[in-house]
């Protein structure tokens, strides 16, 4: 049998071009009356980010979302995804997986160079994978995504073969992530300090200067030839340069946007989005991040949530809908899935989350939490029904923290005491590591449903030496582990979809997860700019198609 051939470049290009045009019109329809006009060449766009300033601009080092945002401007991946989540060509034009699933062969574009002049070829791909896998690089996200890759062989100048220790149905999704973007091997050879300051990719812009705490300036890559298959145009970017400012305060960011001091902002908060909706100078791009939905996880590893009845009572007894609606002013849609709605394989079941306070009360009585103390909280054998809820103030936006307070109030009427503990990031990691939580909300961004394996496979309960682990629900179900394992290994898309649906059913049925909404990611764009869009793999903004209209 011949190796399985996935969609080739020829097949996809035409369809994707059409899809891209549709997607782009949808994105810019709000405030861009002259979207059909020829884009203006040149000019500078000022972008203001509310994400933390990266400590290193090379996304191989560490690997968080702020780095993904910056990397998307100057570096590119082997593949991308379209707005439906399907894999599309980028620096690789086509790919084949061997029958045994243990090797993938990528055909690379032969006309691309890094912006320092180094040619992009199979050796460069091998060097990048080696760089991510080198412990000295201190990669976390990229390293994890390449866990099954044992090495990359340059078959010829423009053919690279990835060898795997086990089949990995998520490999293409992993490779679409900016944390595995291709960088110049020449540049990677410099010291890490230097590469962090001025990394070199193949992207539409070049990192020009990084003024700490202030801004990064990018200049146009005039030799650019390699947009992803769903881009709006070909050739170099329209903009001459981009100023990437760090403005941590949400209100300040919005004020700067209104004043025209900046053209695009990210991390627009619910109140800002409502204000912006009535401003015809501003357009919103709503681009949820992929991976897991934002959700509460119930620690089933210890009392009281080791009793499924107590978990079910909490999930079915606390009304979340109204709180989400009022605190987010309708900007966030309620989710019923462990996966983000941008994941094509996301599966949800609203019926599990229909609120029935009476039934919840009965469940708690049944579980023995039938007494009430002087403050109205339920007790069992003299112990109060108390839940510890560490909240990461770095990761939960103010509206979300208010939501948790509403949940606290709702749970109180049921007889649960919810103890909210606002913590900074490191303390929050510490609380999780010492199993000092009953409820937790932890975002997880990753492309594809394989995130379920990270979050819910029983192996994720064992903490790493750092104390970090991802299975916060402490779900330990051999049947679920088996489903996730088979989903990882299958090469049949239909079987994969089916397995992941079953896995999500098991997760939802366990009442360890209360989905809230997608990981929010809203951009606001001034009408003086068109063509800004979120690049699907991780919904990071791309300014390649952007141009000024003034």
């Amino acid at each position: 049998m011949s190796p399985r051939l996935l969609p080739s470049r020829a097949l996809t290009t035409a369809a994707l071009a059409a899809a891209a045009v549709l997607a782009l019109t949808a994105c810019t329809s709000g405030g861009a009356p002259d979207a059909d006009a020829t884009p203006v060449e040149g000019g500078t766009l000022t972008y203001a980010t509310g994400d933390a300033e990266p400590t290193c601009l090379d996304p191989h080092v560490g690997g968080n979302y702020p780095q993904a945002l910056v990397a998307t401007q100057y570096a590119e991946s082997l593949v991308s995804t379209d707005s439906d989540g399907a894999i599309i060509p980028w620096l690789a034009t086509e790919w084949q997986v061997a029958d045994d699933g243990l090797s993938w062969t990528f055909t690379l574009r032969d006309d691309v160079s890094f912006t320092d002049g180094t040619p992009f070829d199979a050796a460069a791909v091998a060097a990048n994978v080696a760089h991510v896998q080198d412990p000295a690089t201190l990669s976390s996200t990229g390293y994890l995504a390449l866990a099954k890759v044992t090495g990359v062989e340059a078959v010829d100048e423009h053919t690279a073969r990835f060898d795997l220790s086990a089949p990995d149905s998520a490999l293409l999704e992993s490779l679409s992530q900016p944390w595995l973007a291709m960088e110049s091997p020449e540049a990677l050879g410099r010291s890490q300090e230097e590469n962090c300051e001025s990394p070199v990719g193949t992207g539409p812009f070049v990192v020009d200067e990084w003024t700490k705490q202030q801004q990064i300036t990018f200049t146009r890559n005039d030799d650019y030839v390699s947009p992803p298959a769903d881009a709006g145009h070909e050739g170099p970017a329209h903009l001459e340069s981009v100023v990437w400012r760090f403005i941590p305060d949400s209100a300040a960011r919005y004020a700067a946007l209104q004043a025209g001091q900046v053209d695009v902002i990210d991390n627009a908060q619910p109140d800002t989005l409502v204000a912006a909706a009535s401003d015809d100078q501003l357009t919103e791009i709503d681009a949820p991040r992929p991976g897991a939905s934002n959700r509460l996880e119930l620690n089933s590893g210890k009392a009281p949530f080791d009793d499924e009845r107590v978990r079910e009572a909490f999930i079915r007894g606390v009304d979340v809908d109204d709180a989400v609606d009022s605190l987010f002013f309708g900007t966030a849609e309620r989710s019923y899935s462990p996966l983000s709605s941008v994941e094509p394989l996301a599966y949800g079941d609203p019926s599990l989350f229909e609120v029935d306070a009476d039934a919840a009360g009965d469940l708690l009585d049944e579980a023995g939490w039938s007494q009430r103390d002087s403050e109205g909280y339920r007790t069992k054998d003299g112990t109060r029904l108390s839940l510890t809820f560490p909240v990461s103030t770095n990761q939960s936006i103010p509206a979300e923290q208010s939501l948790f307070e509403q949940i606290q109030a709702g749970a109180k009427t049921l007889g649960f005491e919810v103890v909210l503990q606002p913590l900074d990031l490191s303390s929050w990691y510490g609380a999780l590591a010492s199993d000092d939580y009953d409820l937790v909300s932890a975002p997880y961004t990753k492309v594809g449903p394989d995130v379920l394996r990270i979050l819910f496979d029983s192996s994720g309960i064992t903490p790493a030496p750092s104390g970090y682990f991802a299975n916060h629900a402490q779900l330990s179900d051999p049947a679920l582990d088996d489903l996730l394992q088979r989903a990882t290994e299958t090469t049949d898309p239909d079987e994969r979809a089916d397995l992941y649906e079953q896995a999500q059913q098991v997760v939802l049925d366990s009442y360890t997860v209360l989905p809230l909404y997608d990981q929010q990611n809203h951009y606001l764009v001034r009408s003086s700019v068109t063509g800004v869009r979120a690049l699907p793999p991780v919904s990071a903004v791309t300014l390649y198609d952007a141009s000024r209209t003034d």
């Binding site: 203001a48 933390a52 300033e53 400590t55 290193c56 560490g62 690997g63 968080n64 979302y65 780095q67 412990p135 000295a136 201190l138 990669s139 976390s140 996200t141 390293y143 994890l144 890490q192 300090e193 962090c196 003024t211 700490k212 705490q213 202030q214 400012r245 403005i247 941590p248 305060d249 209100a251 300040a252 960011r253 004020a255 700067a256 209104q258 004043a259 001091q261 900046v262 990461s392 770095n394 990761q395 900074d424 990031l425 490191s426 303390s427 929050w428 990691y429 510490g430 609380a431 590591a433 975002p443 997880y444 961004t445 990270i454 790493a464 030496p465 750092s466 104390g467 970090y468 991802a470």
Partner: protein, 331 residues
């Protein structure tokens, strides 16, 4: 007649000069020792305080939210940064480094702390010094008005001072941006590096400090105005503003000058909020990021530099007091 033989006997003038020199020397030595103790205490406090809080710097070094570090990477980071050593060893090693003037390497930014601080110090110093000057200007302005403007002025200015000293920075910043930037479009809402971009951050920082300085200055100003020397100066034909400038100010400024060291410290801590809100680079923002990431060398560096700046400003305040008040020099 032979001229008197030169003797070692010092004239009364040189004795006094020598005594003053000794006093100055003692003052300086005391200051230096004090400064060293303060710096050591700051370094020690910071080191242990940041370790008492749960959380692993290694995890934060490797990317923070949304990323997950491998065991190998964690182990390597621990080793590379000496985090696997016993706490006391880490403390002594850090103290040893600091003693030789080596501020170490930032965990998160992977570059020398000294260089990072040198980059960020000027911005914050400019902000703090400009705010202190503006605060003094506002304080003296209202005090002057309160003394000369009659009972209504005194009541209004004292109310304003209380409100000003109670206003939180983040609220004042939001209101100033809303009114002066968003509504009137007069000033940029986030810093630009131009003088116009400095106005809002400086005013935000200066107003609460001006409230405090104004209160103490006005009180002593009113006391001085009621003193006999003020009456006799007026009787000699001194004008009201001349009285204010030449006689009262000298008295009234003393408590304020003594507070300037404190005010500078409060400006440095206010810089954390103001630099974040107005997106200005500086030590305050560096500190915020460093604390979040458990970047011990960087936090220590910022704290030491702030402590040093504080010590210097307090010393300058003392000197200014001595210059203004002859009684101080007698000792």
């Amino acid at each position: 007649m032979t001229p008197p033989a030169p003797t070692d006997q010092a004239t009364p003038t040189t004795t006094r000069r020598r005594a003053r020199l000794t006093a100055a020397l003692r003052w300086t030595t005391g200051r230096l020792v004090g400064a060293l103790v303060v710096l050591w205490a700051v370094a020690t406090l910071i080191f242990f305080a940041i370790r008492l809080v749960p959380g692993d710097p290694a995890e934060a070094i490797l990317g923070g939210p949304g990323s997950q570090a491998s065991d190998e990477a964690i182990a390597l980071v621990r080793e590379q940064y000496g985090l696997d050593q016993p706490l006391l060893v880490q403390y002594l090693a850090q103290l040893g480094r600091l003693a030789t003037g080596d501020l170490g390497t930032s965990y998160s930014l992977r570059t020398g702390v000294a260089g990072l601080l040198l980059d960020q110090l000027p911005g914050t110093l400019l902000l703090a010094v400009a705010s202190l000057v503006v605060a003094w200007a506002i304080a003296l302005g209202t005090a002057w008005w309160a003394t000369l403007g009659g009972r209504v002025a005194a009541a209004v200015s004292s109310t304003l001072e209380i409100i000003a000293s109670a206003v939180p920075h983040f609220w004042l910043a939001s209101v100033l941006v809303l009114v002066l930037s968003t509504q009137l479009g007069l000033l940029p809402p986030v810093s630009t590096g131009t003088p116009a971009g400095l106005v809002l951050p400086v005013v935000t920082l200066a107003v609460p400090v001006a409230g405090f300085l104004g209160q103490v200055t006005r009180d002593s100003l009113l006391d001085a105005a009621a003193a006999p020397f003020a009456v006799s100066a007026r009787a000699r034909g001194e004008s009201r503003s001349g009285l204010f400038r030449r006689h009262l100010l000298r008295h009234a400024a003393l408590p304020g000058l003594a507070l300037s060291g404190w005010a500078f410290g409060s400006l440095l801590s206010g810089a954390v909020v103001v630099e974040s809100v107005f997106a200005r680079p500086g030590l305050g923002r560096t500190l915020l990021g460093a604390v979040t990431l458990r970047d011990i060398p960087l936090v220590t560096g910022v704290a030491l530099v702030s402590a040093l700046a504080y010590v210097v400003v307090v010393a300058l305040g003392d000197l200014a007091e001595r210059a203004v008040d002859p009684r101080e020099r007698a000792t």
